[in-house]
């Protein structure tokens, strides 16, 4: 982990991250990934904007734990691809604040996630279907059937955690003993 990445990792932690991961770039293609609570997202986006980062895409996926919205960022000056994740546990009404005020390009990426998963981005100026017909019947097409849902925590999908906030229940399986001590339950 380089100094720049370490500084970013500390910065993201200070913004109220729930967990910070240290992925293996050669295997995952990411230098850093972090889980954030929804309310810290705008602050984190602003932090990255000031550091010269750009939003590459918004990639949502549905898991047993809820909808996981992943924002991929990269910097053109010092390439350092990283992912910020927000887990939306309320499956009935998954809602996350929009990062449109900071990265205007997010408007379309968020509308795409709205199309495919029905995730609502509060503050998006034009949250209407982008790629799908506005009158498409049925649930959003990339939602999975309950029996097809996987658990990212059980599978340890995001690699080794560097730091986990005490009480955060989705520690990867490998790091579970560590987090168990700090967890209240």
């Amino acid at each position: 982990m380089s100094d720049a990445t370490r500084a970013l990792s500390e910065g993201v932690k200070d913004l109220g991250a729930l967990a910070v991961y240290r992925p293996d770039f050669g295997k995952q293609g990411l230098r850093l990934s972090a889980f954030l609570p929804g309310e810290a997202l705008s602050r984190a986006a602003q932090f990255l904007r000031e550091k010269g980062f750009t939003l590459l895409d918004v990639s949502t996926a549905e898991f047993q734990e809820g909808f996981l919205v992943t924002y991929h960022f990269d910097s053109f000056a010092e390439p350092c691809r990283l992912a910020l994740r927000v887990l939306l546990e309320d499956k009935a009404k998954p809602t996350v604040p929009s990062v449109y005020p900071i990265f205007q390009g997010a408007e379309w990426h968020e509308r795409e996630s709205y199309d495919f998963f029905g995730v609502i981005f509060e503050g998006n100026p034009n949250l209407v279907p982008l790629l799908l017909p506005h009158d498409l019947p049925g649930p959003p097409p990339l939602r999975k059937k309950p029996d097809a849902l996987a658990s990212f925590a059980a599978l340890g999908l995001f690699g080794e955690a560097e730091w986990i906030s005490p009480g955060w229940p989705y520690a990867p399986a490998a790091a579970a003993p560590d987090a168990g001590e700090g967890a209240p339950q």
Binding site: G26, K27, Q28, G29, L30, R49, G52, F53, T54, L55, L56, D57, S59, A61, T70, H72, F76, P79, R81, A83, F103, Q104, G105, E107, W108, H109, F116, N126, V128, P129, L130, L131, L132, P133, H134, D135, P141, L142, A150, L155, G156, L157, F158, G159
Partner: protein
Amino acid sequence: MTGFNFINPFGVSDEPGTYLGDFYTDNFEKKATAGNVILNLGPQHPSTHGVLRVLVELYGEYVLRAEPVLGYLHRMQEKMGEVKTPYQYLPNMGRVDYLNPIAWNWAFAGAVETLAGIEVPERAEYLRVIAAELNRVSSHLLWWGAFVMDLGGVTPILYAFEEREKLNDITQIVTGSRLTLNYFRFGGVGQDGDARFFKLIEEFIPYMRERLKMYTGLVTDNVIFRRRLEGVGPMDESLCLRYGATGPILRAAGVNYDTRLAIPYGVYDRLECPVPTGQPNDCFGRYMIRLLEIEASLTILERALASIPEGPTLVAKAPKPTYKLPAGEVYFAVEGARGQVGCHIVSDGGKTPYRVKLRAPGFSNLSLFAEAAQGTILADAIAILGSLDLVIPEVDR
């Protein structure tokens, strides 16, 4: 029935809220100022390259607001990624962007190889670079012809197609197809090039350099053409950062960023790729960057041909069609003709990937159009749209 009303065939009334608009027009009209004209460009308009639709609010000839409407060529490629095994899904990559299929081949194959830890033989890496650069030249050529045609010059596209024909003949030797190329395999490439393949590329490089000189005389130095583009649609670094624009648009804005060098993949780090940058950031700068990139690709091709080693083109233990990805996630990006092509795969270790997210550079590049077109005249908005190098199948996926 009272017969067909030729004056007002659809029974449209002037009353507000009863326009003949569809959902998107109605939505767009909500924010319109009374008295302005709402114009629908596309989805069949030739300057919108296929099936893009752009709604514009016009005050006289000035664009007050623009909103691209997507989805006319949406095929749910990401869902197909979830129901097919990676091996079955690979040919889809030739169809996401039909002008630059090799970059998409590379993004998906690279993502799978990175996640699964599959090695790629040296010779295959060089063949990948050769195929990718040939494809980049071919994509830029079609853009060049179509862009000049957007601006009213019909002849150049015929020259561009002559060059493309030669490139198609070359890539057909190794890929077997002329449009939806599917050359990559997990752990290598489909087949090795024969003597004719390498000979044709060697002949093509000097030929293309001569043609580029002709392009300069025919189009680039044309005073009408220059007047049409210079100073039109400036896009600075801040705009690119806010919208995530990459590729020639970003480099024309003066940012020296190319995925081939910034996050090296394949053997690009050994080939010392020249990256043209620092043009004026208007439509003309973006035009020049792409012509310079053709030249740069020819240089990379020369270097790759000079240093390609002998050896196998597919790793010995290449995945079978039933291959399962290990559990995990991966993000892999390559530099396509239009910018950074990214592929994000989440796998739960099952038969098919759990989630495949495709990052299309055209999607982010087009999203800045609404802001860039604001306040320009309609004809300039068409020039800006053309200078973004859009391929709608890629934007819609």
